[in-house]
Protein backbone atom coordinates (compact mmCIF):
# COMPACT_ATOMS: atom_id res chain seq x y z
CA UNK A 1 0.00 0.00 0.00
CA UNK A 2 2.05 2.92 -1.14
CA UNK A 3 1.78 5.68 -3.69
CA UNK A 4 -0.39 5.85 -6.76
CA UNK A 5 1.53 5.95 -10.03
CA UNK A 6 0.33 7.52 -13.25
CA UNK A 7 -0.98 4.22 -14.63
CA UNK A 8 -3.03 3.59 -11.51
CA UNK A 9 -4.39 7.14 -11.61
CA UNK A 10 -5.47 6.58 -15.22
CA UNK A 11 -7.15 3.30 -14.26
CA UNK A 12 -8.96 4.84 -11.29
CA UNK A 13 -10.18 7.75 -13.42
CA UNK A 14 -11.58 5.30 -15.93
CA UNK A 15 -13.24 3.19 -13.23
CA UNK A 16 -14.82 6.39 -11.91
CA UNK A 17 -15.89 7.32 -15.47
CA UNK A 18 -14.19 10.70 -15.28
CA UNK A 19 -12.11 11.77 -18.29
CA UNK A 20 -8.74 13.09 -17.18
CA UNK A 21 -6.40 14.61 -19.75
CA UNK A 22 -3.02 12.79 -19.93
CA UNK A 23 -1.16 15.95 -18.89
CA UNK A 24 -3.30 16.18 -15.72
CA UNK A 25 -2.48 12.63 -14.58
CA UNK A 26 0.86 13.30 -12.79
CA UNK A 27 -0.71 15.97 -10.54
CA UNK A 28 -3.72 13.73 -9.89
CA UNK A 29 -1.47 10.80 -8.99
CA UNK A 30 0.45 13.03 -6.59
CA UNK A 31 -2.70 14.30 -4.87
CA UNK A 32 -4.25 10.86 -4.56
CA UNK A 33 -0.98 9.54 -3.14
CA UNK A 34 -0.99 12.30 -0.54
CA UNK A 35 -4.53 11.44 0.53
CA UNK A 36 -3.72 7.73 0.71
CA UNK A 37 -0.62 8.42 2.77
CA UNK A 38 -2.84 10.30 5.22
CA UNK A 39 -5.17 7.27 5.41
CA UNK A 40 -2.31 4.94 6.19
CA UNK A 41 -2.30 6.17 9.78
CA UNK A 42 -5.12 3.68 10.18
CA UNK A 43 -2.60 0.87 9.97
CA UNK A 44 -1.41 1.80 13.45
CA UNK A 45 -4.75 0.79 14.99
CA UNK A 46 -5.19 -2.70 16.39
CA UNK A 47 -8.49 -3.84 14.89
CA UNK A 48 -8.19 -7.48 15.84
CA UNK A 49 -11.61 -8.94 16.51
CA UNK A 50 -13.45 -5.72 15.62
CA UNK A 51 -16.28 -6.09 13.11
CA UNK A 52 -16.57 -3.42 10.41
CA UNK A 53 -19.44 -1.10 11.31
CA UNK A 54 -22.52 -1.60 9.17
CA UNK A 55 -25.02 0.60 10.99
CA UNK A 56 -24.16 3.45 13.32
CA UNK A 57 -27.40 3.24 15.28
CA UNK A 58 -28.44 -0.29 16.11
CA UNK A 59 -31.73 -0.51 14.25
CA UNK A 60 -33.77 -3.12 12.53
CA UNK A 61 -34.77 -1.86 9.15
CA UNK A 62 -38.52 -1.52 8.84
CA UNK A 63 -40.42 -3.72 6.49
CA UNK A 64 -43.53 -2.93 4.58
CA UNK A 65 -46.05 -4.89 2.57
CA UNK A 66 -44.73 -5.86 -0.86
CA UNK A 67 -47.20 -3.80 -2.85
CA UNK A 68 -46.95 -1.09 -5.48
CA UNK A 69 -47.05 2.34 -3.82
CA UNK A 70 -46.00 4.56 -6.68
CA UNK A 71 -45.99 4.76 -10.47
CA UNK A 72 -47.60 6.28 -13.55
CA UNK A 73 -45.28 9.23 -13.54
CA UNK A 74 -43.52 8.92 -16.86
CA UNK A 75 -43.66 12.63 -17.62
CA UNK A 76 -42.25 13.60 -14.21
CA UNK A 77 -39.52 10.96 -14.43
CA UNK A 78 -38.40 12.21 -17.85
CA UNK A 79 -38.88 15.92 -17.14
CA UNK A 80 -35.22 16.55 -16.27
CA UNK A 81 -33.63 14.26 -18.86
CA UNK A 82 -31.06 15.90 -21.16
CA UNK A 83 -32.55 13.86 -24.02
CA UNK A 84 -35.85 11.99 -23.88
CA UNK A 85 -37.76 10.62 -26.85
CA UNK A 86 -41.04 8.78 -27.13
CA UNK A 87 -41.20 8.14 -23.41
CA UNK A 88 -37.62 6.88 -23.07
CA UNK A 89 -34.25 8.24 -21.94
CA UNK A 90 -32.16 8.61 -25.09
CA UNK A 91 -28.42 7.81 -25.08
CA UNK A 92 -25.79 7.41 -27.80
CA UNK A 93 -25.88 4.17 -29.73
CA UNK A 94 -24.50 1.33 -27.61
CA UNK A 95 -22.60 -1.24 -29.67
CA UNK A 96 -20.41 -3.70 -27.84
Amino acid sequence: MSGIDIDTARKVAHLARIRVAPEALPKLAEQLSGILAFMEQLNAVDVTGVEPMTSVTPMRLKRRADVVTDGDRQAAVLANAPDAREGFFAVPKVVE
Partner: protein
Protein backbone atom coordinates in the same frame (compact mmCIF):
# COMPACT_ATOMS: atom_id res chain seq x y z
CA UNK B 1 -41.19 48.30 9.19
CA UNK B 2 -37.47 47.70 9.21
CA UNK B 3 -35.23 45.43 11.19
CA UNK B 4 -37.71 42.55 11.35
CA UNK B 5 -35.10 40.41 9.60
CA UNK B 6 -32.89 40.68 12.68
CA UNK B 7 -35.40 38.86 14.89
CA UNK B 8 -34.87 35.36 16.19
CA UNK B 9 -37.37 32.62 15.33
CA UNK B 10 -38.79 32.76 18.87
CA UNK B 11 -39.20 36.55 18.77
CA UNK B 12 -40.79 36.49 15.33
CA UNK B 13 -43.13 33.64 16.25
CA UNK B 14 -44.29 35.48 19.35
CA UNK B 15 -44.62 38.76 17.46
CA UNK B 16 -46.70 37.16 14.73
CA UNK B 17 -49.02 35.58 17.26
CA UNK B 18 -49.37 38.90 19.11
CA UNK B 19 -50.18 40.54 15.71
CA UNK B 20 -47.31 43.02 16.18
CA UNK B 21 -46.49 42.52 12.50
CA UNK B 22 -47.46 40.21 9.68
CA UNK B 23 -45.65 37.37 7.96
CA UNK B 24 -45.74 39.45 4.78
CA UNK B 25 -43.91 42.32 6.51
CA UNK B 26 -41.41 39.92 8.02
CA UNK B 27 -40.82 38.29 4.63
CA UNK B 28 -40.41 41.66 2.87
CA UNK B 29 -37.80 42.69 5.44
CA UNK B 30 -35.80 39.53 4.65
CA UNK B 31 -36.20 39.92 0.87
CA UNK B 32 -34.91 43.48 1.22
CA UNK B 33 -31.93 42.25 3.24
CA UNK B 34 -31.20 39.60 0.60
CA UNK B 35 -31.22 42.26 -2.13
CA UNK B 36 -28.86 44.42 -0.11
CA UNK B 37 -26.68 41.44 0.77
CA UNK B 38 -25.69 40.23 -2.68
CA UNK B 39 -22.01 40.81 -1.94
CA UNK B 40 -22.16 37.85 0.45
CA UNK B 41 -23.21 35.50 -2.38
CA UNK B 42 -25.16 33.51 0.22
CA UNK B 43 -28.48 33.26 -1.64
CA UNK B 44 -27.98 31.66 -5.06
CA UNK B 45 -31.59 31.17 -6.18
CA UNK B 46 -33.93 33.70 -4.54
CA UNK B 47 -37.60 32.64 -4.56
CA UNK B 48 -39.47 35.87 -3.73
CA UNK B 49 -42.69 34.79 -5.45
CA UNK B 50 -42.89 31.58 -3.44
CA UNK B 51 -41.96 33.47 -0.27
CA UNK B 52 -44.69 36.09 -0.75
CA UNK B 53 -47.34 33.47 -1.50
CA UNK B 54 -46.31 31.41 1.53
CA UNK B 55 -46.31 34.53 3.74
CA UNK B 56 -49.85 35.44 2.66
CA UNK B 57 -50.98 31.89 3.40
CA UNK B 58 -49.23 32.01 6.77
CA UNK B 59 -50.95 35.26 7.72
CA UNK B 60 -54.29 33.64 6.91
CA UNK B 61 -53.45 30.67 9.14
CA UNK B 62 -52.36 32.94 11.96
CA UNK B 63 -55.57 34.98 11.61
CA UNK B 64 -57.53 31.72 11.76
CA UNK B 65 -55.82 30.75 15.00
CA UNK B 66 -53.98 27.84 13.36
CA UNK B 67 -50.32 28.75 13.74
CA UNK B 68 -47.90 25.83 14.09
CA UNK B 69 -44.36 26.41 15.32
CA UNK B 70 -42.79 27.68 12.12
CA UNK B 71 -45.81 29.51 10.71
CA UNK B 72 -44.79 32.64 8.82
CA UNK B 73 -41.08 32.35 9.62
CA UNK B 74 -38.80 33.13 6.63
CA UNK B 75 -36.00 30.60 6.11
CA UNK B 76 -33.16 29.95 3.73
CA UNK B 77 -32.79 26.44 2.32
CA UNK B 78 -29.43 24.89 1.52
CA UNK B 79 -29.13 24.07 -2.18
CA UNK B 80 -28.70 20.37 -1.25
CA UNK B 81 -32.42 20.03 -0.48
CA UNK B 82 -34.71 19.14 -3.38
CA UNK B 83 -37.44 21.75 -3.61
CA UNK B 84 -40.16 21.15 -6.14
CA UNK B 85 -39.86 23.26 -9.28
CA UNK B 86 -36.99 25.29 -7.81
CA UNK B 87 -33.33 24.80 -8.87
CA UNK B 88 -31.67 22.30 -6.53
CA UNK B 89 -28.20 21.63 -7.80
CA UNK B 90 -25.99 20.92 -4.78
CA UNK B 91 -23.81 23.81 -6.00
CA UNK B 92 -22.66 21.61 -8.89
CA UNK B 93 -22.57 22.25 -12.61
CA UNK B 94 -23.58 18.65 -13.16
CA UNK B 95 -27.05 19.50 -11.85
CA UNK B 96 -27.38 22.77 -13.74
CA UNK B 97 -30.98 23.27 -14.74
CA UNK B 98 -32.26 20.47 -12.49
CA UNK B 99 -35.68 21.28 -11.05
CA UNK B 100 -36.95 18.44 -8.88
CA UNK B 101 -40.40 17.05 -9.47
CA UNK B 102 -40.72 16.40 -5.75
CA UNK B 103 -40.16 18.02 -2.37
CA UNK B 104 -37.68 16.76 0.24
CA UNK B 105 -39.27 15.49 3.45
CA UNK B 106 -37.62 18.24 5.50
CA UNK B 107 -38.84 21.12 3.32
CA UNK B 108 -42.28 19.50 3.01
CA UNK B 109 -42.51 19.34 6.81
CA UNK B 110 -41.36 22.95 7.15
CA UNK B 111 -43.83 24.19 4.55
CA UNK B 112 -46.56 22.12 6.18
CA UNK B 113 -45.76 23.93 9.42
CA UNK B 114 -46.20 27.26 7.62
CA UNK B 115 -42.57 28.23 7.05
CA UNK B 116 -41.62 30.63 4.26
CA UNK B 117 -38.78 29.82 1.79
CA UNK B 118 -36.76 32.87 0.78
CA UNK B 119 -34.42 31.02 -1.55
CA UNK B 120 -31.72 28.43 -1.99
CA UNK B 121 -28.37 28.94 -0.30
CA UNK B 122 -24.77 28.57 -1.38
CA UNK B 123 -22.66 25.63 -0.26
CA UNK B 124 -19.61 23.58 -1.23
CA UNK B 125 -20.23 21.38 -4.27
CA UNK B 126 -22.04 18.23 -3.08
CA UNK B 127 -21.24 19.40 0.47
CA UNK B 128 -17.57 18.53 -0.09
CA UNK B 129 -15.50 21.30 1.40
CA UNK B 130 -14.85 23.31 4.53
CA UNK B 131 -14.71 26.84 3.11
CA UNK B 132 -17.51 27.15 0.52
CA UNK B 133 -14.83 27.55 -2.15
CA UNK B 134 -15.80 24.50 -4.23
CA UNK B 135 -19.22 25.90 -5.19
CA UNK B 136 -20.20 26.31 -8.84
CA UNK B 137 -21.79 29.61 -7.77
CA UNK B 138 -18.50 31.03 -6.49
CA UNK B 139 -17.49 31.65 -2.88
CA UNK B 140 -19.97 32.57 -0.19
CA UNK B 141 -18.52 35.36 1.96
CA UNK B 142 -18.45 35.62 5.75
CA UNK B 143 -20.22 38.78 6.99
CA UNK B 144 -17.51 39.00 9.66
CA UNK B 145 -14.52 41.04 8.51
CA UNK B 146 -11.55 42.50 10.37
CA UNK B 147 -9.42 43.98 7.57
CA UNK B 148 -9.68 44.21 3.80
CA UNK B 149 -9.63 40.44 3.33
CA UNK B 150 -12.84 38.56 2.55
CA UNK B 151 -13.17 35.61 4.92
CA UNK B 152 -14.68 32.18 4.46
CA UNK B 153 -17.97 31.48 6.21
CA UNK B 154 -16.81 27.87 6.49
CA UNK B 155 -18.35 24.92 4.73
CA UNK B 156 -20.06 23.11 3.46
CA UNK B 157 -23.15 25.03 4.70
CA UNK B 158 -21.34 28.34 4.14
CA UNK B 159 -24.26 30.12 2.46
CA UNK B 160 -26.57 29.10 5.29
CA UNK B 161 -24.13 30.38 7.90
CA UNK B 162 -23.50 33.68 6.10
CA UNK B 163 -27.23 34.26 5.50
CA UNK B 164 -28.17 33.70 9.15
CA UNK B 165 -25.23 35.68 10.56
CA UNK B 166 -26.02 38.62 8.24
CA UNK B 167 -29.76 38.54 9.06
CA UNK B 168 -30.78 37.75 5.47
CA UNK B 169 -33.10 35.12 6.90
CA UNK B 170 -34.21 34.19 10.41
CA UNK B 171 -32.67 30.73 10.19
CA UNK B 172 -31.57 28.21 7.57
CA UNK B 173 -31.33 24.51 6.94
CA UNK B 174 -27.90 22.92 6.80
CA UNK B 175 -26.52 19.44 6.40
CA UNK B 176 -23.58 17.89 8.20
CA UNK B 177 -21.51 14.93 7.00
CA UNK B 178 -18.23 15.74 8.78
CA UNK B 179 -18.91 19.10 10.40
CA UNK B 180 -20.71 21.03 7.66
CA UNK B 181 -23.27 22.57 10.04
CA UNK B 182 -21.10 23.05 13.12
CA UNK B 183 -17.90 24.42 11.53
CA UNK B 184 -19.59 27.21 9.51
CA UNK B 185 -21.82 28.03 12.50
CA UNK B 186 -18.69 28.47 14.64
CA UNK B 187 -16.95 30.61 12.00
CA UNK B 188 -19.91 33.01 11.72
CA UNK B 189 -21.00 33.28 15.37
CA UNK B 190 -24.27 31.36 15.10
CA UNK B 191 -25.72 28.11 16.46
CA UNK B 192 -25.81 24.87 14.45
CA UNK B 193 -26.90 21.42 15.53
CA UNK B 194 -26.30 18.09 13.82
CA UNK B 195 -28.93 15.71 15.19
CA UNK B 196 -28.49 12.01 15.97
CA UNK B 197 -28.18 9.93 12.79
CA UNK B 198 -31.74 8.94 11.93
CA UNK B 199 -33.48 11.85 13.70
CA UNK B 200 -34.13 13.84 10.52
CA UNK B 201 -35.20 12.27 7.24
CA UNK B 202 -32.63 12.28 4.45
CA UNK B 203 -35.26 11.75 1.76
CA UNK B 204 -34.94 14.32 -1.01
CA UNK B 205 -31.57 15.61 0.21
CA UNK B 206 -28.85 15.09 -2.40
CA UNK B 207 -26.73 12.29 -0.92
CA UNK B 208 -23.02 12.69 -0.16
CA UNK B 209 -22.15 9.91 2.33
CA UNK B 210 -25.35 8.21 3.36
CA UNK B 211 -24.14 6.70 6.64
CA UNK B 212 -22.89 10.10 7.85
CA UNK B 213 -25.28 12.71 6.38
CA UNK B 214 -27.78 14.44 8.66
CA UNK B 215 -29.70 17.67 8.16
CA UNK B 216 -30.16 20.19 10.94
CA UNK B 217 -30.97 23.81 11.72
CA UNK B 218 -28.63 26.80 11.68
CA UNK B 219 -30.00 29.57 13.86
CA UNK B 220 -29.24 32.72 15.83
CA UNK B 221 -29.91 31.13 19.23
CA UNK B 222 -30.10 27.76 20.96
CA UNK B 223 -33.83 28.23 21.59
CA UNK B 224 -34.32 28.74 17.86
CA UNK B 225 -32.39 25.54 17.15
CA UNK B 226 -34.78 23.70 19.49
CA UNK B 227 -37.87 25.14 17.77
CA UNK B 228 -36.53 24.50 14.26
CA UNK B 229 -35.28 20.98 15.00
CA UNK B 230 -38.69 20.04 16.36
CA UNK B 231 -40.21 21.00 13.02
CA UNK B 232 -37.62 19.08 10.94
CA UNK B 233 -37.38 15.88 12.95
CA UNK B 234 -39.51 12.77 12.94
CA UNK B 235 -39.98 9.39 11.37
CA UNK B 236 -40.27 9.15 7.60
CA UNK B 237 -41.18 5.85 5.92
CA UNK B 238 -39.33 7.08 2.80
CA UNK B 239 -35.97 6.96 4.60
CA UNK B 240 -35.23 3.45 5.85
CA UNK B 241 -32.69 4.78 8.35
CA UNK B 242 -35.12 7.27 9.84
CA UNK B 243 -35.88 6.37 13.46
CA UNK B 244 -39.44 5.70 14.50
CA UNK B 245 -39.21 7.32 17.92
CA UNK B 246 -41.16 10.25 19.31
CA UNK B 247 -39.88 13.83 18.92
CA UNK B 248 -39.98 15.57 22.30
CA UNK B 249 -40.69 19.27 22.84
CA UNK B 250 -37.07 20.39 22.54
CA UNK B 251 -37.85 24.01 23.36
CA UNK B 252 -39.51 23.07 26.65
CA UNK B 253 -36.37 21.15 27.58
CA UNK B 254 -34.24 24.32 27.37
CA UNK B 255 -34.48 25.34 31.02
CA UNK B 256 -30.82 26.16 31.56
CA UNK B 257 -30.78 23.99 34.68
CA UNK B 258 -27.76 21.72 34.29
CA UNK B 259 -27.02 21.15 37.98
CA UNK B 260 -25.49 17.71 38.43
CA UNK B 261 -25.10 17.06 34.69
CA UNK B 262 -21.78 15.35 34.00
CA UNK B 263 -19.74 17.07 31.28
CA UNK B 264 -16.82 15.12 29.85
CA UNK B 265 -13.65 16.89 28.74
CA UNK B 266 -11.78 14.59 26.33
CA UNK B 267 -8.03 14.95 26.72
CA UNK B 268 -7.37 13.80 23.13
CA UNK B 269 -8.99 16.97 21.78
CA UNK B 270 -6.14 19.05 23.17
CA UNK B 271 -4.18 18.82 19.94
CA UNK B 272 -0.55 19.63 19.43
CA UNK B 273 -0.11 23.02 17.79
CA UNK B 274 -3.60 24.16 18.75
CA UNK B 275 -3.80 27.96 18.95
CA UNK B 276 -3.65 29.22 22.55
CA UNK B 277 -6.89 31.15 21.99
CA UNK B 278 -8.82 27.97 21.24
CA UNK B 279 -7.38 26.33 24.32
CA UNK B 280 -8.29 29.34 26.46
CA UNK B 281 -11.84 29.45 25.09
CA UNK B 282 -12.28 25.78 25.88
CA UNK B 283 -11.10 26.37 29.47
CA UNK B 284 -13.53 29.26 29.72
CA UNK B 285 -16.35 26.99 28.56
CA UNK B 286 -15.43 24.43 31.21
CA UNK B 287 -15.54 27.13 33.89
CA UNK B 288 -18.92 28.41 32.68
CA UNK B 289 -20.50 24.97 32.82
CA UNK B 290 -18.97 24.30 36.23
CA UNK B 291 -20.34 27.61 37.51
CA UNK B 292 -23.77 26.60 36.20
CA UNK B 293 -23.64 23.55 38.43
CA UNK B 294 -22.38 20.85 36.07
CA UNK B 295 -19.91 18.21 37.20
CA UNK B 296 -16.75 18.39 35.08
CA UNK B 297 -14.95 15.13 34.40
CA UNK B 298 -11.79 14.43 32.40
CA UNK B 299 -12.40 11.60 29.97
CA UNK B 300 -10.47 9.73 27.30
CA UNK B 301 -11.60 9.01 23.75
CA UNK B 302 -8.45 7.15 22.68
CA UNK B 303 -9.22 6.66 18.98
CA UNK B 304 -9.89 10.35 18.28
CA UNK B 305 -6.77 10.87 16.18
CA UNK B 306 -7.87 8.18 13.73
CA UNK B 307 -11.24 9.79 13.04
CA UNK B 308 -10.09 12.04 10.19
CA UNK B 309 -8.30 9.33 8.19
CA UNK B 310 -11.22 6.92 8.76
CA UNK B 311 -13.65 9.60 7.63
CA UNK B 312 -11.64 10.34 4.50
CA UNK B 313 -11.89 6.67 3.52
CA UNK B 314 -15.56 6.12 4.36
CA UNK B 315 -17.04 9.40 3.09
CA UNK B 316 -15.38 9.27 -0.37
CA UNK B 317 -16.24 5.56 -0.68
CA UNK B 318 -19.91 6.28 -0.12
CA UNK B 319 -19.73 9.40 -2.29
CA UNK B 320 -18.23 7.49 -5.23
CA UNK B 321 -21.21 5.16 -5.08
CA UNK B 322 -23.85 7.87 -4.53
CA UNK B 323 -22.48 10.13 -7.26
CA UNK B 324 -22.45 7.34 -9.84
CA UNK B 325 -26.01 8.43 -10.69
CA UNK B 326 -24.74 11.63 -12.36
CA UNK B 327 -24.14 10.12 -15.74
CA UNK B 328 -25.82 12.54 -18.14
CA UNK B 329 -28.81 10.27 -18.72
CA UNK B 330 -31.63 11.08 -16.31
CA UNK B 331 -31.02 14.63 -15.11
CA UNK B 332 -28.62 17.52 -15.21
CA UNK B 333 -25.73 18.18 -17.54
CA UNK B 334 -24.74 16.05 -20.54
CA UNK B 335 -21.54 16.84 -22.42
CA UNK B 336 -21.66 17.66 -26.10
CA UNK B 337 -20.50 14.58 -27.88
CA UNK B 338 -18.22 14.24 -30.89
CA UNK B 339 -19.03 12.20 -33.96
CA UNK B 340 -18.67 8.51 -33.10
CA UNK B 341 -18.63 8.98 -29.31
CA UNK B 342 -20.15 6.03 -27.47
CA UNK B 343 -21.88 5.83 -24.14
CA UNK B 344 -18.64 5.56 -22.14
CA UNK B 345 -17.39 8.76 -23.78
CA UNK B 346 -20.66 10.36 -22.77
CA UNK B 347 -20.24 9.31 -19.13
CA UNK B 348 -16.59 10.33 -18.93
CA UNK B 349 -16.95 13.69 -20.65
CA UNK B 350 -20.14 14.56 -18.77
CA UNK B 351 -18.59 13.81 -15.38
CA UNK B 352 -15.32 15.59 -16.22
CA UNK B 353 -17.22 18.73 -17.25
CA UNK B 354 -19.86 18.59 -14.53
CA UNK B 355 -17.88 17.82 -11.37
CA UNK B 356 -15.39 20.25 -9.85
CA UNK B 357 -11.85 19.28 -8.87
CA UNK B 358 -12.51 18.38 -5.22
CA UNK B 359 -15.55 16.27 -6.06
CA UNK B 360 -13.60 14.46 -8.78
CA UNK B 361 -10.78 13.78 -6.33
CA UNK B 362 -13.10 12.35 -3.72
CA UNK B 363 -14.93 10.17 -6.22
CA UNK B 364 -11.60 8.77 -7.40
CA UNK B 365 -10.33 8.20 -3.85
CA UNK B 366 -13.59 6.39 -3.11
CA UNK B 367 -13.32 4.36 -6.28
CA UNK B 368 -9.79 3.35 -5.34
CA UNK B 369 -10.53 2.29 -1.76
CA UNK B 370 -13.48 0.22 -2.95
CA UNK B 371 -11.62 -1.41 -5.83
CA UNK B 372 -10.64 -5.08 -5.82
CA UNK B 373 -7.54 -5.68 -3.74
CA UNK B 374 -7.88 -2.53 -1.64
CA UNK B 375 -11.37 -2.94 -0.21
CA UNK B 376 -10.16 -4.78 2.89
CA UNK B 377 -7.02 -2.76 3.41
CA UNK B 378 -8.74 0.62 3.31
CA UNK B 379 -12.52 0.48 3.43
CA UNK B 380 -13.03 -2.41 5.84
CA UNK B 381 -10.21 -1.23 8.06
CA UNK B 382 -11.77 2.24 8.22
CA UNK B 383 -15.12 0.72 9.17
CA UNK B 384 -13.42 -1.24 11.96
CA UNK B 385 -11.77 1.93 13.25
CA UNK B 386 -15.15 3.63 13.04
CA UNK B 387 -16.58 0.95 15.33
CA UNK B 388 -13.77 1.69 17.82
CA UNK B 389 -14.43 5.44 17.68
CA UNK B 390 -18.08 4.83 18.45
CA UNK B 391 -17.13 2.47 21.28
CA UNK B 392 -15.02 5.23 22.88
CA UNK B 393 -18.16 7.38 23.12
CA UNK B 394 -20.36 4.47 24.23
CA UNK B 395 -18.00 3.79 27.13
CA UNK B 396 -17.95 7.44 28.20
CA UNK B 397 -21.74 7.65 28.17
CA UNK B 398 -22.08 4.30 29.97
CA UNK B 399 -19.81 5.77 32.61
CA UNK B 400 -22.35 8.50 33.35
CA UNK B 401 -21.21 11.32 31.06
CA UNK B 402 -24.20 13.37 29.85
CA UNK B 403 -22.46 15.58 27.31
CA UNK B 404 -18.94 16.29 26.07
CA UNK B 405 -17.41 19.75 25.61
CA UNK B 406 -14.77 20.39 22.93
CA UNK B 407 -13.65 23.22 20.65
CA UNK B 408 -15.70 23.44 17.45
CA UNK B 409 -12.91 24.38 15.04
CA UNK B 410 -9.11 24.56 15.15
CA UNK B 411 -9.16 28.27 14.19
CA UNK B 412 -11.35 31.27 13.47
CA UNK B 413 -12.42 32.07 9.89
CA UNK B 414 -9.55 32.26 7.41
CA UNK B 415 -9.28 34.30 4.23
CA UNK B 416 -10.93 33.14 1.03
CA UNK B 417 -8.23 31.86 -1.29
CA UNK B 418 -5.66 31.45 1.51
CA UNK B 419 -5.84 27.66 1.27
CA UNK B 420 -5.79 27.61 -2.55
CA UNK B 421 -2.27 26.24 -2.80
CA UNK B 422 -2.62 23.98 0.21
CA UNK B 423 -2.61 20.22 0.04
CA UNK B 424 -6.19 18.81 0.06
CA UNK B 425 -5.38 17.13 3.38
CA UNK B 426 -4.69 20.52 5.04
CA UNK B 427 -8.25 21.61 4.31
CA UNK B 428 -9.52 18.33 5.78
CA UNK B 429 -7.97 19.28 9.15
CA UNK B 430 -10.78 21.83 9.63
CA UNK B 431 -13.04 18.92 10.53
CA UNK B 432 -10.78 17.51 13.21
CA UNK B 433 -13.14 18.22 16.14
CA UNK B 434 -16.43 17.58 14.37
CA UNK B 435 -15.90 14.45 12.31
CA UNK B 436 -15.90 12.01 15.24
CA UNK B 437 -19.52 12.92 15.93
CA UNK B 438 -20.65 11.86 12.44
CA UNK B 439 -18.68 8.63 12.62
CA UNK B 440 -20.39 7.79 15.92
CA UNK B 441 -23.84 8.99 14.75
CA UNK B 442 -24.18 11.35 17.73
CA UNK B 443 -25.85 14.74 18.09
CA UNK B 444 -23.46 17.69 18.22
CA UNK B 445 -24.03 21.42 18.53
CA UNK B 446 -21.81 24.44 17.99
CA UNK B 447 -22.46 27.43 20.24
CA UNK B 448 -20.80 30.84 19.75
CA UNK B 449 -18.67 31.42 22.83
CA UNK B 450 -16.39 34.38 22.23
CA UNK B 451 -14.24 36.44 19.90
CA UNK B 452 -10.58 35.90 19.11
CA UNK B 453 -7.97 38.66 19.40
CA UNK B 454 -8.81 39.93 15.90
CA UNK B 455 -12.51 40.11 16.77
CA UNK B 456 -13.70 37.00 14.92
CA UNK B 457 -16.19 34.58 16.46
CA UNK B 458 -15.17 31.23 17.92
CA UNK B 459 -17.45 28.36 18.85
CA UNK B 460 -17.51 25.53 21.34
CA UNK B 461 -18.97 22.14 20.52
CA UNK B 462 -21.13 20.01 22.78
CA UNK B 463 -21.66 16.34 21.95
CA UNK B 464 -24.66 14.46 23.33
CA UNK B 465 -25.90 10.94 23.87
CA UNK B 466 -27.81 9.33 20.99
CA UNK B 467 -31.38 10.72 20.80
CA UNK B 468 -30.73 13.16 23.65
CA UNK B 469 -30.89 16.34 21.54
CA UNK B 470 -33.15 17.77 24.25
CA UNK B 471 -30.59 17.32 27.01
CA UNK B 472 -27.84 18.53 24.67
CA UNK B 473 -29.78 21.67 23.73
CA UNK B 474 -30.33 22.36 27.42
CA UNK B 475 -26.58 22.26 28.16
CA UNK B 476 -26.01 24.41 25.07
CA UNK B 477 -28.63 26.86 26.35
CA UNK B 478 -26.81 27.12 29.69
CA UNK B 479 -23.51 27.66 27.87
CA UNK B 480 -25.05 30.29 25.60
CA UNK B 481 -26.46 32.18 28.59
CA UNK B 482 -23.14 32.08 30.42
CA UNK B 483 -21.10 33.09 27.37
CA UNK B 484 -23.47 35.97 26.61
CA UNK B 485 -22.29 36.17 23.01
CA UNK B 486 -24.14 39.12 21.46
CA UNK B 487 -21.61 40.45 18.96
CA UNK B 488 -22.82 40.94 15.38
CA UNK B 489 -20.76 41.62 12.27
CA UNK B 490 -20.61 45.30 11.32
CA UNK B 491 -22.54 45.76 8.08
CA UNK B 492 -20.06 46.47 5.24
CA UNK B 493 -21.95 44.82 2.42
Amino acid sequence: MSGLNTLTLAEARDGLRARDFTAVELTEACLGAIDAGRALNAVVHATPDIARAQAIAADARIAGGDAPAMCGLPLGIKDLFCTKGVPSQAASNILRGFKPEYESTVTAKLFGAGAVMLGKLNMDEFAMGSSNETSCYGNAVNPWKVDDRLLTPGGSSGGSAAAVAADLCLAATGTDTGGSIRQPAALTGIVGIKPTYGRVSRWGIVAFASSLDQAGPMTKTVRDAAIFLGAMAGHDPQDSTSADIPVPDFEAMCTGDIRGRVIGIPREYRMEGMPAEIDALWDKGVAMLRDAGAVIRDISLPHTKYALPAYYVIAPAEASSNLARYDGVRFGHRAKLAQGDGITDMYEKTRAEGFGAEVQRRIMVGTYVLSAGFYDAYYNRARRVRALIKRDFDLAFADGVDAILTPATPSAAFGLGEMASADPVEMYLNDVFTVTVNLAGLPGISVPAGLDAQGLPLGLQLIGRPWDEGGLLNVAYALERAAGFVAKPAQWW
